[in-house]
Assembly symmetry: C5
Homo-oligomer: 349 residues x 5
Amino acid sequence: MKLFPKRYHPPGTPPGTLVSVPFERPITCQWIECEQGELNLHDGLEVDKIYARIEAGAITWVRVQGRPSAEWMRRYGPCLKLHQLAQEDILNGGQRPKLEPYDGQLFLVLNVPREEDGWIRHQQLYLFRHQSLLVSFFEGDADPFASLIERLKESRARLKRLGLDYLLYALVDTAIDHSFPVLESLGEKIERLEEFLVEHPERQVLEQIYALKRELILLHRALWSHREVLGKLLRNEGDWFDEGILVYLRDCYDHAFQILGLLRSYREMTAGLLEIYLSGAQVRLNEAMRVLTVIATIFMPITFVVGVYGMNFRYMPELEWRYGYPAALVLCALIVLVMMAWFRRRGWF
Amino acid sequence: MKLFPKRYHPPGTPPGTLVSVPFERPITCQWIECEQGELNLHDGLEVDKIYARIEAGAITWVRVQGRPSAEWMRRYGPCLKLHQLAQEDILNGGQRPKLEPYDGQLFLVLNVPREEDGWIRHQQLYLFRHQSLLVSFFEGDADPFASLIERLKESRARLKRLGLDYLLYALVDTAIDHSFPVLESLGEKIERLEEFLVEHPERQVLEQIYALKRELILLHRALWSHREVLGKLLRNEGDWFDEGILVYLRDCYDHAFQILGLLRSYREMTAGLLEIYLSGAQVRLNEAMRVLTVIATIFMPITFVVGVYGMNFRYMPELEWRYGYPAALVLCALIVLVMMAWFRRRGWF
Amino acid sequence: MKLFPKRYHPPGTPPGTLVSVPFERPITCQWIECEQGELNLHDGLEVDKIYARIEAGAITWVRVQGRPSAEWMRRYGPCLKLHQLAQEDILNGGQRPKLEPYDGQLFLVLNVPREEDGWIRHQQLYLFRHQSLLVSFFEGDADPFASLIERLKESRARLKRLGLDYLLYALVDTAIDHSFPVLESLGEKIERLEEFLVEHPERQVLEQIYALKRELILLHRALWSHREVLGKLLRNEGDWFDEGILVYLRDCYDHAFQILGLLRSYREMTAGLLEIYLSGAQVRLNEAMRVLTVIATIFMPITFVVGVYGMNFRYMPELEWRYGYPAALVLCALIVLVMMAWFRRRGWF
Amino acid sequence: MKLFPKRYHPPGTPPGTLVSVPFERPITCQWIECEQGELNLHDGLEVDKIYARIEAGAITWVRVQGRPSAEWMRRYGPCLKLHQLAQEDILNGGQRPKLEPYDGQLFLVLNVPREEDGWIRHQQLYLFRHQSLLVSFFEGDADPFASLIERLKESRARLKRLGLDYLLYALVDTAIDHSFPVLESLGEKIERLEEFLVEHPERQVLEQIYALKRELILLHRALWSHREVLGKLLRNEGDWFDEGILVYLRDCYDHAFQILGLLRSYREMTAGLLEIYLSGAQVRLNEAMRVLTVIATIFMPITFVVGVYGMNFRYMPELEWRYGYPAALVLCALIVLVMMAWFRRRGWF
Amino acid sequence: MKLFPKRYHPPGTPPGTLVSVPFERPITCQWIECEQGELNLHDGLEVDKIYARIEAGAITWVRVQGRPSAEWMRRYGPCLKLHQLAQEDILNGGQRPKLEPYDGQLFLVLNVPREEDGWIRHQQLYLFRHQSLLVSFFEGDADPFASLIERLKESRARLKRLGLDYLLYALVDTAIDHSFPVLESLGEKIERLEEFLVEHPERQVLEQIYALKRELILLHRALWSHREVLGKLLRNEGDWFDEGILVYLRDCYDHAFQILGLLRSYREMTAGLLEIYLSGAQVRLNEAMRVLTVIATIFMPITFVVGVYGMNFRYMPELEWRYGYPAALVLCALIVLVMMAWFRRRGWF
């Protein structure tokens, strides 16, 4: 994941300018109409039919999967009554999660982290709500709402009672809850590193800890605005929702809060991992140093002694002694014993 | 204790879906009716009788020990008028402490840390209050309220006067106060480590410090929401309580606050322990280094000197001198003295 | 001072349960009546007389020195109209500084740090105010208010004008100001360590820094709630005081604030001391390492050279040369010069 | 960029004193009139004409590029109705971003970071708005609004509808968005350092990390007040704007927020880089130490052994043995094997 | 500068007790009357004349330079209507900057940092305002307001219009702005250290960094309350000022804010300096270690080889070989080459 996620126009570009992304991908559209709690799916995007159904009292959810091109946006954006600034945000991506009320409309940006091949990817969900119409854009390939529609059918009663509010809540809840599997797998990663650290304090661990830290920083940046967004939703300042949905949204807010609490303890834990790693390295350095010092301190003096008796002076009386050689060896042994006693007294081994 | 404590449904599951925990355990139920301050215990869970007694003006406390299965919940949850979301939270466990008012009802989640075999386990207490009915779920095996009932009998007067409010307070107070023994034993652990550190700065200490740190992080995560929950209770926004109970709840809030203050100083102390440990390691490294340097600096030059006179050149006048050998030894002694003077002047020993 | 200061009952004990402290000490009581600014001291605790004087319009201060037993409390507590929870707090000790208004009454807990034999002891002052009666409990042996009574006599005019409010203020002020001598002596300790560190960077310093840090953490924990308590007093929500006393209480609040500011800069300074100590150790390590490296790098090559000419091969032409020996010495000298030039160029000495 | 950016008068100088900057540069002026969404550019600064056009209902933007002299300010400042304190701020430079409402007028200071030759320069934009007149001062050489005028022409409709408000917004938006290219390039720098660190952990990296850190500290100082300024604008306390512009300003506020979020994660990342660098250094130190210890521990004993048999004692029976020489070599080999086995068991290689 | 700046009375002293400072210095008094914007200076302190002029409608500023004695204060304090607590604060010194409204009066304490001989001294300014009388006490020797009076004459118009408010503002502004030269010189010190660090990473630098850090901690403690004090002034809760002065006070507030922002970035920078210093030390340690390891690893094996052929065994066939000697040298050279290749492959040089 890139450190700088945003695509931006050159400063000075008028707001709401629409420019296509270079790496465009084909998008898929779907629209789901929902009347009296019954759901009907339609592929494609037939604006006329949608409005006809809305006229007839149905609520409608338009789903766009993939990031649309500027042309697409220019064509369909106004039909779907998307605000110009919202259109620009959707095309550019890399937004901060936010809640933007444009007169009578509600524009919501959420981050949906997903783990793919061991990497965490951050994809964005854009929700746009206008009277009886809900539009969602999700920029990733995988469909985070695949199982949602099936499940919505099961909670038909609530959907009937709470209408579009429940639909919106269901989408927000699904988006927020996508952080749980990611956090669970990060938690396992931390625990694995913890065990590994004690047994194999090798160098690669350092890079893994750093990679983990980086992921946590980016995840924190991506998610910490969720609490603010949900808090705003809960305050319901523009009377956007029926009171009945607030108990569900509070549950959702609670999840966002819990996710941030988990993230915080993960970050503290990771900082602790680095500390433990470095402390361990320091301890091993001390050990090596101690071994070296003991060896050098013992062998240097006795090597000096044997060096002395290797000198070639003509007049060295000891050399002629009968027991000179064993005496020199005994001298060496004495030096070794004295040194070892000294180290033992200092508690070095 | 796991880093990631929550059990969650796949994102997109409708709210309030009830799924059994894989590691179900048999639960035990009890109901205590209380009329005019007198307590009567009944085993089992006879819903009809309970409501009959409530009709008759008694207040009732239903205790469930252990984590119930989804079937149990589906059967008894609606009878006890538990909100769907509350039922889901109880089944899933690992919640953040919170206070949730569902219309006219009060749902409370608290963490109860307990020390078992030197490990801190976090178990959750769920309190649900609805008119004259109090329902408590405690997921652990041990019964934190074992002695409570005996004690409630002693404070009959207050129980009579304050009714269900007092009962709820007594449960909250007991749950909060369970942190004190845990904190006391952690405090002793820190003090033991402190002393140990000064005397035996060994390597295992590092792992103990880290384990302590981990426990403190998790304990902080589990407990820091208590203050918020109790603050909400005290504000009494929904007129949940009689004013008379607030003075007791304030005492309880004060305990929660004090617990967090203790936790904070423990965390600072633990960070200090790590610092002191590493500083000590650094100091010992310096010592070893100094010994090594002194030894090497003294013996290398004199070993060189004796090496010189061990050379086999034919024309080495010194070798023939009468006092060449003692002269060489004197030269070595001089070198040693000069070196030691130099080290002494630099304050190395 | 213990990390965990609080004595607590087993969780589940009803609030207000009174249990004696194991290490009871004899307590001394005094009561001071004050009418029209005149002070009269009486030893002992004659409840009837006290209330008679209060009836007569006098204001009364009951002083209890030492921690009372549960029996004492059970006997006198109700006479002095102490709230049950306040009685429990006084017996248990180790409270967080707090202000608790029980209907019409005011209960105040303050920490009074005192230095004894170089250690900081934290003792608590409990103030209880009820109409014209002020009760103070101070758990320590030494009397922090010894000089206060003499001084109160001097400010008779204010005492007459402001009555019990002034008395309460005088006690709070004295308690708060007891932190100043403690902070002054800590400040001197830090400055002494600072100087010491530069001159004698020895190992014991580390333990002293850590002990200082520990004391600051505990002092911070003991004092940081004072600001909150005094802030509450100043807001005077229950109309506890005459407006005239608030200007004095504001002065007191200011002192509490200043004390916390001092504590904060002490903690930063102590963290700085540790940093400087470790940095100094690192620097000395580098020096030792450099000496060792220079010595080893110079002597190892020349020791090798003399080793070569100490070999006993039959055919070694150099050995037969006339000037072989001086040539070998010159070679050694050259090596030394080259090495030293290389080290100089790298700026090693 | 200087740490201390502000030019200040000697303390005690009356407010609003105008003193020229020593390093004056020629300034260029332009004025743009705008009527019914049509833009006309004029070079120079003809005050009479400007006011004539304003009278006639046009809105006017006076652009000053470069830092004016005190004389210029004394001459034109009053004509343009700049507040005395605003004039002083413009001459002195190095202000904190701020929003200052002088009665009926609005004075805005923003920081515009720009990257030049790999260095980030902070230049200030001063915006002054008074009825139908907008005055902008930009102290740098390069023109950050070069492309703006062209683009304003394209959004004629909005300009016509929202008038001076839109013009002011466009300038603020352009100024804020100038941080994006700077942040993008810093993000790339961090990512490059990250990769570099793993492959070539050389010493220069340290200086680069520090330089990066310094830039981030200064950038943070320069930009963190933007959020406050934009928040104030949005609150629109003095009814400075038409409601219609607030949706655009909110977009702008969002960008300022996002910029600070990016900065924060950059700073955390940079701290992480330093940690990883130092950890790497520690790890390499350990490796070197280990190699040294292994080598020394193996060769010191065997060098001692061969030293023993190099002694010149007359009576050394081993020297006469037939297989003394191979036996000595075998002894050395044995020592080496034992040592290596010992190291292997300790997991040293 | 002392860590503990405050002089305090023994706890229990009644508030407002006046005690002389031991190190009294002669004080100088002046009074400036100001009528219709005209300023007249008088030396000394003629209380009667002052009040006569005030009666006549003039505004008056009494300046006291130096710290007065208790006698002085007892004599003049009441004449000048100073509150008892204010008198005590002035005598004791070392106050936290604060704003204290005593009924109808305003008491202001500000810190004025000044650089003297490379040290930062913190001196306090006490401002007391009562109707048409302004009293200032400045405890230092140097006169920070020397140039102020001259400059006040120049802004006669404003002085006439805004009266005492403007005078008070001018004093506050001068006091606040005295931090700018101090901060500028600290900024230069940091930049000098930065450059020095890269070129001469010597040991004294460490002490300089620590001294800088200490100064910044104390400066922060001295100045951070200014923001609060000026914020209170701006809120103008007691209608102390005419609205017209607030625009100037806001400028002043802005300076106080900017000063704290600078201080914060200085502290971060200083922390960065320490980091860079230690990192550099670590890097140099690694270098030394590497040199040592390379040297030892190369010379130990070959010294062993020549040691082998220096043994005196009778039966050593190699010694008799014609080319034994060159062969041994070649063996040494081979060892050196192998070792160097190994180091090169590991990237050690």
